[in-house]
């Protein structure tokens, strides 16, 4: 029983980077911008979030810095693809490289090489009064760090926005058929800009979560492919906020099983466990490929002066 509670608690804890990065990807994708720079933006968010927290002595400021960096990358992506109409994958990969490069460059410049890694305090547990006293559910759901609650509330809000409001409907129209959306008076360019920027900010925050919850410090390539997994999760979640939220439970579950199975004392060499998240992701993509619903205009650039698209 204790083990199960610990496991489920860890799953919820590990779900956050997937939820944030994937919702960020989904937002941009809903207006046709296919971001492939997640891994780079997350690494930069992790690096910058750590550095700012370390220097300022406040994790919240670090999170804001990571979000700002992600937003700038989102803005660049939107500008290059929407205004300059450049290939989304080329630009996404370029931003990925710059993010990775900056993520290792900044700590070297700001902190330098130290014998023991500098540490920041990890995010505190926020117990919700009364609710945290419920047996079983209490410790799993209501004794987590603040970003766990944030990622759940964010997902619900995004769902409400996309499927229950006029603006959300308009946004979805931009990703399905921008020409029609444009003819109905929806500002396609503005929609693409703000979703890419907000999406980038969420992806940056997803990166900052790693040093602030798992390690207390930044290490090179610490995302371990979570940025790429988030793209897979977005496809798996059909670019819909609630399916992404539930799907992230699966991704987090696999990660907890794989990276922490050593603690349980499994006899298998740990290298086999390291492969599990990636192989499981490919498997889940195979199983769900038929159902995968993708915004029709994903990855394309809208040119209102072009006759037919």
């Amino acid at each position: 029983m204790e083990t199960l509670i610990t496991f489920l608690r860890l799953v919820l804890l590990s779900m956050v980077p997937f939820v944030l990065a994937s919702q960020g990807t989904m937002l941009g994708g809903r207006t046709g911008i296919f971001n492939v720079a997640q891994e780079g933006i997350m690494l930069l968010g992790a690096s910058l979030g750590f550095l700012v927290s370390y220097q300022v002595g406040n994790n919240f400021v670090g999170m804001l810095a990571a979000m700002a960096a992600g937003a700038v990358f989102g803005l660049l992506l939107a500008y290059f693809t929407t205004t300059l109409k450049m290939n989304q994958f080329f630009i996404g990969l370029s931003l990925f490289f710059i993010g990775v490069g900056l993520s290792t460059l900044l700590p070297k410049l700001i902190i330098g090489i130290t014998l023991s890694p500098p540490l920041i305090p990890t995010l505190p547990e926020v117990s919700i009064p009364l609710l945290s006293q419920i047996p079983l559910l209490g410790p799993i759901l209501f004794r987590q760090n603040g970003l766990v609650y944030f990622s759940i509330v964010l997902s619900l809000l995004l769902w409400y926005f996309l499927y229950r409001t006029q603006r959300g409907l308009e946004l979805r129209a931009v990703g399905e058929n921008p020409m029609t959306a444009d003819s109905l008076g929806i500002n396609v360019v503005r929609a693409r800009y703000w979703t890419a920027i907000l999406g980038g900010a969420l992806i940056g925050l997803a990166g900052a979560y790693l040093p602030m919850v798992y390690t207390g410090t930044f290490t090179e390539a610490m995302t371990r492919g979570r940025g790429w997994l988030a793209i897979a999760l977005t496809f798996f979640g059909g670019w819909s906020p609630l399916t992404i939220l539930t799907g992230s439970l699966f991704f987090a579950g696999v990660e907890v099983l794989a990276f922490r199975a050593q603690v349980i004392g499994l006899a298998l060499p740990y290298q086999y466990l390291l492969m599990v998240p990636y192989l499981a992701t490919i498997l889940i993509m195979i199983l769900t490929f038929r159902k995968a619903r993708v915004p029709a205009f994903l990855g394309q650039n809208y040119d209102r002066e072009k006759r037919n698209l």
Partner: protein, 336 residues
Amino acid sequence: MKALGRTILPYLIAIAVAFAAVGIFIAAMGFDVGRAYQTILLTSFRTPNGFIQTLLKFIPLTLQALAFTVPLTAGKFNIGGEGQMIVGGIAAAAVGITFSDLPPVLLLPMVILAGVLAGAFWGLIPAWLLYRFGLNEILTTVLLNFVSFAVIDLVATGPWRDTTAGHPTTIPIGQGGWLPMLINNPPLHSGIILAVLVAAGIYIYTSRTTGGYELVATGANPRAAEVFGIHVGRMFVFSLVLAGALAGLAGSIEVAGVHRRLIEGMQSNFLVLGLIIGLIARGNNLAVPFVAFFIAVLEVGASAMQRTLMIPVEMVFIVEALVLLFVLLSDVVRRR
């Protein structure tokens, strides 16, 4: 001549702007920009050793870049060159260790071929997933990189582990599997000939043969290609498998020529640099070796700069990424 100038000019501007932008940053950090850039650009040409270091980097960079540009010709993105190279290296080392007593006539081709085949197999997996299930190849190729990290760790810490080495490393492959040396001091192995021949072969294939033309047609407009009877799905598979073979060759050359054993982490950052090279070359297979040489010069210079001036190597990586961004931007400028 004028046309050549018009192609090269945007590159020169992109390089100049990237260097200027990072130069301001380096100066702001309180480093000597002039000495930094001298070191970056000239280390390769000051000593024989520097030049050969550059050639040694040029080999895997060219192959990795081609592993990206060949599928790109057909409109597919292979971000899995790292895994394909690792798996190629593993297979090369496995053959080289298992049959270590064989003479060079047999063992060397076996080692090289093992790497090529293993890389091709690693490329076949995403190709098949794309063909059979329509899975996005960007994702599957990347995810397989992470699988390969675990595989190489398994092999390098397994029964073949060299227990005297601090880092996960296997025992050496048999002498028969070593690539012959062209120059002994400083050491340059004959893998460079292989790389140049392969690069030339890829260029001739994609620009001068029917099969290559089908690849180009598929990339230009898959629907039109389909109408004209090209089996587009098969072209995708073929291009990804060929890419895997190229990256696998890079792995076996590193094992047979440079390390003579399998070392964890030997893939370095060749994948990312290969992608940058392929994109700067705009997917043009003829341009790839030249861009690869330029990047190899920068990389060798970057290491020297870090050693002598204490400026982090990543600074040069940012320069490379910015060159790419400005080269891409020059298309927009030209369109206007």
